[in-house]
Symmetry: C2
DNA sequence: TAGATCGGAGATCATTATAGTCTCCGATCA
DNA sequence: TGATCGGAGACTATAATGATCTCCGATCTA
């Protein structure tokens, strides 16, 4: 119920990881490759690859090909909202099927639907919530990761 | 994404309908049978039946067998929250798989999971939202609490 | 410049969740 | 006593999700 998908989960984890690598200091940015993240969080490599590609397409991270390649945040963690992340993975978020009804599309209940308006309000509230929370906010609890080698595990403080 | 199921939709519609039949005046209560609701909203009869049975089991409506039978609200619309409705249809609501992890269950990412805490906060917020909105609010009599709609999509009425 | 290391992209498959159907039962009431 | 209700379970079809496989092009470096 109201669950977010595994792919979205992976996206959040990956972005959190990428962001924490150069936490608060873009000049110390380091490219992070798919394998590093996959191993750190036990995520299927090729599925994570898809997720990162989607994030790259939507412009939240930038990719670098070739050896020593990988991903970097494309903008500050403060400017990336949870809503943006989820939407770039799962498309526009809507609580009901009729949330994004296009011209000519109607649900069977549309004509006498008695819950559309209140549900849209709920949806707005949820959207606001997710749109007001940034990647930066998610970094708050977790200390910056200082590892340099992919083999090192994140040290909890 | 973050979608609620058709069954939950049906539950909301049905309850809205049942509640509106004796809106603000329990003494005018009238039993409403499955067929009436199914026809009004174009809901598959037998699927709706399942939904109503679930709602009955969880004590939000009471059932009456036999001819002229049907359903009644078991308590005031003010005392039925959206969260309660959704949960009685879809089980405890959780944004992630690990929201309701039982003893001995662990997700593969648990050990180094960096998003669990922030996600639980998001979940709390959503739960609060749904738990503060009642069936009464959906009837349109009183405006919903805490629900603002700044992004104002299709605010009708 | 060849080969190793990256990401990009598409097809494909397995598993699960959802939506919907069918059938039979017991209660109730006229 | 039979028509009309809800209760309950098994069952099927379809869609969404999670995961895998394969091939490609870009890039770095030895």
């Amino acid at each position: 119920m109201l669950k977010i998908s595994k792919k979205a989960d992976y996206a959040l984890m990956a972005l959190q990881h990428i962001a924490s690598v150069h936490f608060g200091d873009m000049s110390h940015a380091r490219v992070v490759n798919t394998k590093e993240i996959a191993e750190e969080y036990n995520i299927p490599l090729e599925l994570l690859a898809k997720v990162l590609q989607a994030l790259s397409k939507s412009g939240m991270i930038e990719s670098h090909n070739g050896p020593k390649g990988g991903y970097l945040l494309a903008r500050s963690a403060k400017e990336i909202t949870i809503a943006q992340i989820l939407e770039s993975i799962e498309g526009p978020l809507g609580i009901t099927d009729c949330s994004h009804e296009k011209e000519g599309e109607f649900c069977m209940q549309r004509e006498h639907c008695n819950i559309r308006t209140p549900l849209l309000k709920v949806q707005d509230s949820i959207y606001q919530l997710l749109n007001n929370m940034t990647l930066q906010d998610m970094l708050g609890g977790t200390p910056p990761i200082t590892i340099q080698s992919p083999t090192a595990q994140g040290v909890e403080r």
